[in-house]
């Protein structure tokens, strides 16, 4: 058994139990600090990378590429392109709803954590919302890595038992007439919500519409922006 006890929990405010992410990384510029100012976790990760590099198990340059990919290339801008295309191209919308992964691959968004994507469409009578109650499953190629709240206990616990209350936490009041359809991603199927196109956008190009598509609108915890919210 590994010495778990040597990883000092950084307090409840940092834990998965809450949404808080302010754990032990306030010293953001770690290169400027000596070890006495680094947390147990920071020291542990540094030691691990050093050891694995010395053993020849990891190449730090590959780690840099992985990080750069998810910080700069793969994110919700991808999903917004998919949604905007579906809003402007009825044939594409049909393909997207019939086989999400294949239609999304047409835009070259493929691979890890997006191997089997199902797209679910919001309508005036039905609002879709996606969760992973067991861990953090999320469609990476179209949304990037999940936000802290998506992985947190409050969302994972209540998205299935009180979805309307969760939407309220997001400042989003759904009509009582609208059914909420919650998709718990318990297998390797990943779900992407196709939100409704905002009114007042007739004639807009897909490029312009993509600016209205928020990450949360593709998870189901928000709505797209309204035309007046973008310049």
């Amino acid at each position: 058994m590994q010495p778990l006890d040597t990883v000092a929990p950084s307090g409840l405010s940092s834990a998965i139990m809450s949404n808080h992410h302010h754990d032990d990384h306030h010293h953001g510029h770690h290169h400027d600090h000596d070890h006495s100012e680094l947390s147990e976790t920071e020291l542990r990760v540094r030691a691990l990378e050093t050891i694995l590099t010395q053993k020849g198990y990891v190449d730090p340059a590959a780690l840099d590429v992985l990080i750069e990919t998810y910080e700069t290339k793969v994110g919700p801008r991808n999903g917004a392109q998919v949604v905007a295309k579906a809003w402007t191209d009825p044939a594409y919308r049909q393909r997207l709803l019939a086989d999400g992964s294949a239609a999304i691959a047409e835009l070259d968004y493929v691979g890890r954590q997006g191997e089997h994507i199902v797209v679910v469409e919001n309508t005036p009578s039905r609002h879709n919302m996606v969760v992973c109650t067991l861990c953090s499953c999320y469609p990476w190629p179209v949304l990037g890595l999940p936000p802290v709240w998506y992985k947190s206990a409050p969302y994972r616990s209540r998205a299935v038992s009180d979805p309307r209350g969760v939407l309220h936490d997001f400042g989003f009041e759904l009509s009582p007439e609208t059914e909420i359809r919650v998709w718990d991603s318990t297998a390797e199927i990943r779900y992407l919500v196709l939100p409704m196109r905002p009114a007042g956008t007739d004639g807009w190009s897909a490029e312009r519409l993509a600016d209205l598509v928020t990450r949360d609108s593709m998870i189901g915890t928000g709505l797209p922006k309204q035309p007046h919210e973008v310049a």
Partner: protein
């Protein structure tokens, strides 16, 4: 396992607090822990179900006291210790203490993009017909495996309707334990919110899980 990770319907965690303009990572160590985890999986020889089990198989208080990437980190350490890719005391000593076991080769920077694009599809071909069809009423079995499973507690014993068929997929319950992929038919099973949460007011909600065939039985079964 019925662990702290299985959070659906658990009370008391409070409201969801979205963070405006949230960064992808909140600290340099999160970046490195994320990347090392992705880079080590193939050379380390474990699969995604083994990773999930290594993260969730810990005392509830421990699971709940860690941040997300801290859980990834202890899961990764455990997988490597089990395979002697990491030795006890090495992290504390911050150096290699024993001659490293050979691996098939580390992930090269030039191969990252291809690795991510390839992903890890879990659908497998089958000649076995599906037991259930769309519209069938099924009951989620009231099972409590001691090891990894992906049937959440909040649906166990409840009756739902088959909404989608996804083909045959790798079965996590065996794959997590190194007992093989044993693919089974995978279904989206949809439950009425009023059935799962009878005390909840005004929940016009339906909730689905994705469930492998061994998790399900006909609703009219005893």
């Amino acid at each position: 396992m019925d662990g702290a990770h299985d959070m659906g319907g658990v009370a008391g965690f409070g409201p969801v607090r979205p963070e405006p303009n949230e960064p992808v990572f909140h600290a340099e160590w999160e970046r490195r822990a994320f990347a090392v985890t992705l880079a080590m999986a193939k050379p380390g020889g474990w699969n995604i179900d083994m990773s999930r089990f290594a993260r969730e198989d810990r005392p509830p208080a421990d699971y709940l006291s860690r941040s997300y990437y801290q859980i990834w980190l202890v899961g990764l350490e455990r997988l490597m210790l089990e395979r002697e890719l990491l030795r006890p005391g090495e992290i504390e000593a911050r150096k290699v203490l024993q001659t490293p076991a050979p691996i098939s080769g580390p992930l090269a920077a030039a191969d990252v993009d291809a690795m991510l694009r390839r992903g890890g599809p879990t659908e497998r071909e089958t000649t076995t017909p599906a037991r259930f069809k769309i519209g069938d009423r099924v009951r989620a079995k009231d099972i409590h495996p001691a090891t990894h499973t992906r049937l959440p507690q909040y649906v166990r014993g409840h009756v739902g309707v088959i909404e989608l068929l996804h083909g045959c997929h790798v079965f996590p319950d065996t794959n997590a334990m190194g007992q093989g992929e044993h693919p089974h038919w995978l279904y989206t099973v949809t439950f009425d919110g009023k059935d799962l949460w009878p005390d909840a007011a005004d929940q016009r909600s339906r909730i689905s899980v994705d469930a492998w065939e061994p998790y399900l039985e006909p609703a009219d079964a005893a």
